[in-house]
Amino acid sequence: MRRGARWFAALMISPTLLVLALVVIYPLLSAARESMYVRGEGLDADGFVIEGERFVGLANYAGLVGERFVNAFANTTVFTLATVALETVLGVAMALVMHGVLRGRGLVRASILIPWAVPTAISGLMWRWVFQADGVANAIIGEKILWTTEGVQAKLAVIIADTWKTAPFVGLLVLAGLQIIPTMVYEAAKVDGASAWQTFWRITLPLVKPALVVAVLFRILDALAMFDLPFVMIGRGKFSVETLSALVWDEATQLRYGPAAAYGIVLVAYIAAIVFVFVRLLGADLLADARSRKGQA
C-alpha cells in the first residue's frame, strides 16, 4: 500500500521534473561548461588548424574586469536597489489605501491590475512615447529632457517605467496579507492608546511581513534579470541602461557563447548571493512558513 503511494507520487511528479531538467538544469550545466570554451578556429601544438571548440579554462571570465561588464553589473545593481525600494514603499502605501477603501473597491482593483497586465515590451514602447523629446512627460514638467538617449536620465526613465508596472503587484500581495490580520488586534491597540504611526510600525508591518517578504523576493529576482524594458525603451546595447541579462543576450546573439555563458554564470551567482542574504536577514523561509501555518489551521 505504502509502496504504491510512493510510486503514484513519483509518477505524478516526474514529468514536471523531467521538463525542468531539460529546460533549466541542462542549460545551466551546459552554460557552466560553455563558459570555459571558445568557439572558432585555432592552431594546435603542431601548427595544424583545429576547428570547433577549444578549452580555455577561465579565460572567458577575464571579461569580468572589463568596462562593459562592470557597467552592466552596476546598472543591474542600481536598477534593482532603486526599483525594489520604490516599489516596496509605494506598494505598501497602495495596499493600506485599498484596505481602507469602502466605495469603488472594484474599480481600484481592476485598475491596479492594468499595469501588471500590460506586457513589459509594450510598456517599454508606451513609456518611450511618453518620454519622447516632444512627449507628454516633458510637456507636463515644462523641460526639454532627452529621456531616451544615453545618460542618467535614461536610467531614471527606466526606473520610473518599471516602478509603474510592478508597484501595484507588490500592493496586491501586501493587501492580501493585510486582509488576514484579525481586526481584534487593531481594536486592542486602540484600547491601549496606540497612535496611528505606532499601530503601523508595531502591528501592521510585523503581521504583514510574510506576504511582503515574498513580494519583495519576487521583485528582486525579476529586477536582477531585467531585460525587456531597457531594450525596448532605450535600445539595444545602450551603455547607460545595459543590464547583465542584456549583456549576456547580446554576447550570445553575436555567437560569443563563451563570454556570454561566463557572464550569465556570474549573474546566477550574484542572484543566489542576494537571495541567500535576503532570506537570512528576513527569514523568508517560504516552505517552513507554509508548514507551520498548516499546523495552526
Partner: protein, 268 residues
C-alpha cells in the same frame, strides 16, 4: 474623503500612462504630438496602418496565440499532476522537491537561452514554434506548480478518503473527485500562465529571425524602429493597444480569480 482621494490617486497612477497610449493610438499622424487629453479629431488611421501594408500583424497575433496556448496547455498537464502530489500525497522529501521546482525560477532567462540557442541552431529549430514553447516552460511551469499547490492545499482533506471508500483508485480519486473540484484553481492558473507567455519577449526575440514567425510583442517592438527620426509612434501605440486589449478584457472579467491566484501562493 481622504481615503477616496487616495484611492483616486491610485487609479490615476495606474491608468494615466495606459490612457495616453490609447489616446495617442486614435490620433492622426499629423497631430500625433498633440497633447490634448483626447484625440481631436479621432482617427483609425493607425489601426489601419497596423494591419495594412506588409507588416502582417494578424499573423504575429496568431503566432502569439499558438505559442501561449500550447505552452499553457502543456504547463497545466504537467503542473496539475505535480502540484497534486506535492499538496496532497504524503512522501518524504516533498518540501525539498517543491523548493527545487520554485528554485528553478531563480535562474535568469538570458543565461538559459545561451546553450538553448546553440542547441536549437544545431537541431534546426530556429524559426519554429517549439523553439519558443519549450524554453517558455522554464518560467511557466514553476509558476503553475506554485499557484496550483496553494489551490490544492485549500481543499478539504477528507476528499480522497471518501473517494477511496467509494471504491476509487488513487488515480480515480484524482481524476474524478479532485480535478473537477479544482477546476476554478486550474482555470486561474491557466490565465496566469497564458499572461506570462503572451508577454514573453526575450525567447521569441532570440529564437526567431523570420518576420512571419515573430510573436506580437516582438513584432510591435520592431515596427519601423530603424531610425529615431521617423518612428511611427501612432502605429506602435495602436499595435500596443491591440496586444494589450485581450489581457485587459481577461483582467476585467476575472479580476477576483486573478487576484486570488496571484496571492494564494504568497500567503498559504
Amino acid at each position: 474623503m481622504k481615503r477616496t482621494l487616495a484611492a483616486g490617486l491610485i487609479v490615476v497612477y495606474c491608468l494615466a500612462p495606459f490612457y495616453w497610449m490609447v489616446v495617442s493610438s486614435f490620433r492622426r499622424t499629423s497631430d500625433i504630438f498633440s497633447t490634448t487629453p483626447w484625440p481631436s479629431p479621432p482617427s483609425l488611421e493607425n489601426y489601419a496602418a497596423v494591419f495594412g501594408g506588409h507588416s502582417d500583424f494578424g499573423r504575429a497575433l496568431l503566432n502569439s496565440l499558438i505559442v501561449s496556448g500550447a505552452t499553457t496547455a502543456l504547463t497545466l498537464v504537467f503542473g496539475v499532476c505535480c502540484a497534486y502530489a506535492l499538496a496532497r500525497l504524503h512522501f518524504r522529501g516533498k518540501n525539498l522537491v517543491l523548493g527545487l521546482i520554485i528554485g528553478t525560477s531563480m535562474f535568469p532567462g538570458a543565461l538559459l537561452i545561451v546553450p538553448l540557442l546553440k542547441l536549437f541552431t544545431e537541431l534546426g529549430w530556429i524559426n519554429t514554434y517549439h523553439a519558443m514553447i519549450v524554453p517558455s516552460m522554464s518560467f511557466a511551469l514553476p509558476l503553475a506548480v506554485w499557484t496550483l499547490t496553494a489551490f490544492f492545499r485549500q481543499m478539504p482533506h477528507e476528499l480522497e478518503q471518501a473517494a477511496t471508500i467509494d471504491g476509487c483508485t488513487r488515480w480515480g480519486a484524482f481524476r474524478r473527485v479532485i480535478l473537477p473540484l479544482a477546476a476554478p484553481g486550474v482555470f486561474t492558473t491557466a490565465i496566469l500562465a497564458f499572461f506570462a507567455t503572451w508577454n514573453e519577449f526575450m525567447i521569441a526575440l532570440t529564437m526567431i529571425s523570420k518576420a512571419d514567425m515573430q510573436t506580437a510583442t516582438v513584432r510591435v517592438a520592431q515596427f519601423g524602429g530603424a531610425s529615431d527620426f521617423d518612428t511611427p509612434f501612432g502605429t506602435q501605440m495602436a499595435a500596443g493597444v491591440i496586444v494589450t486589449i485581450p489581457l485587459v478584457i481577461l483582467v476585467l472579467v476575472f479580476q477576483k480569480r486573478i487576484v486570488a491566484g496571484l496571492t494564494s501562493g504568497a500567503l498559504k
